[in-house]
Amino acid sequence: MREYSEKMQKIASDALEKKEVSLVIGWRKKDFWWQSPVAFVDDAAQARQLVWDPFTVNNPIKYLLDQDCHEKTGVFVKGCDSRGINRLLQDRRLERDRVVLYGVPCDGKVDAAKLKKAFPGQKIKQVAAAGDQLSVTVDGGDESVPAKEYLLDKCQSCRYPNPVVYDRLAWEEVAPRQVSEESRFSRVADLEQIDVDERFAYWSRQFERCIRCFACRNVCPACNCVTCIFDQAEPRWLGKASDMGDTLNYQMIRAFHVAGRCFECGECERICPAGIPLLDLHRKIIKDLNGYYGEYDAGLNPEDNPPLGIYRGEDPAGFDES
């Protein structure tokens, strides 16, 4: 772990010293073992705070939207983050020449909750990665557990662990994980099986918990509008009251807005404070788009148009065309 962090620190301090960039966005460590928030480094001296550890999961790319004051910004990108870069490029919300991308191949981040469950009654003090193991420091001393069992769900189904766009790689690429279509869409398929009323019961149980904090939208790289439609007062597209109707309106329209643009980074689901399985909704749409209009992976090529921005005369339809 440490040498990885050092590589990042060197890249950052060099870039800042050479004035290649005036800001570097990476990750640092905070109070608790599971906290590795995004860090903004604007002078070489502070580069030392940058870290790479099992919890550097936050996607830094959305912060690039407000860096007009910086001529050039350097940013460390994992596989998912790099697809976020392509997302912003395709959405014309980022000029490629204003960022320098430091690719950080990633074999998955750890789910603190899963880890806590594994050590009931014990207090975890520190967690470090050692190869494919995690060394967990608890009151009783150090214990070693296999990392892949404690990865975040979104990382377990990640198909692009290596950056798809970057200016330089911080370290060698990792072996891409094989994710079968079945496993990728299994939760969606299961839901598709059950009766429509049961399905509604399921979703309303989930969305009963939604507090409409908009964290899922604000963290989403595909939600990058200057002013979101849901924040507008005239016309008011979305009631501010947290009724089920409005909650479903928000979640469905947001899903529609990112349809064909969502690249499954899964941040919405990861950070949802209410633990709502939001990725299933987005994956459902991806599954349908692939089925109807051909396989498409968003966030790979900023040049092409998303599936809802194009058509073919002979397209099939999901409704009665007779």
Binding site: V188, L191, E192, V196, D197, E198, R199, F200, A201, Y202, W203, S204, I229, W237, G239, D243, M244, G245, D246, L248, N249, M252, I253, A255, F256, A259, G260, L281, K284, I285, D288, L289, Y292, Y293, P307, L308, Y311, R312, G313, D315, P316, A317, G318, F319, D320, E321
Partner: protein, 144 residues
């Protein structure tokens, strides 16, 4: 939440019709005196591609029991390509609504040309009957 069929329940159907085909079809049904249930309320739009999914969800929230979007047949769009985009958009929306647990009959999309007055009447009779047997929309409706 299973919906109990209500006796004497008359559903409210909101129909978004493109001006050039389906709205003309509705007019033709009128001039040909082809009667269909009075449950249907038409919103006139220039093209099916003007119909924002937000309008549809809004209709359900405000108490519509069924919503239908009707446009020109693919290839006949007055604006060349509008309904080609509609086809993709509403395919996604329709599957999503069903995935969220909304009965598929509640949201329908049909292509009805200006010369298909009879089709317009039968399609509207159809969705009215479908939704009638489903009962009122209680899933997306605002509780106010």
């Amino acid at each position: 939440m299973s919906v109990v069929k209500q006796e004497g329940f008359e559903p409210l159907i909101v129909a978004f019709c493109c001006n050039w085909c389906s709205y003309a079809g509705a007019d033709l049904a009128g001039t040909s005196r082809m009667s269909y249930p009075s449950n249907v309320r038409i919103v006139r739009v220039p093209c099916s591609s003007r119909v924002n999914p937000s309008f549809i969800i809004r209709a359900f929230q405000r108490g519509a029991d069924g919503v239908i979007v009707a446009g020109c047949h693919p290839g006949d769009c007055h604006y060349h390509s509008g309904n080609f985009f509609s086809r993709r958009r509403f395919t996604v929306l329709k599957q999503m609504l069903e995935f969220m647990g909304i009965e598929p009959e509640r949201f329908q999309v049909r292509w009805i040309s200006g010369s298909e007055g009879a089709k317009f009447a039968s399609v509207m009779a159809g969705i009215t009957q479908d939704v009638k047997s489903l009962g009122p929309n209680r899933k997306l409706r605002d509780v106010r």
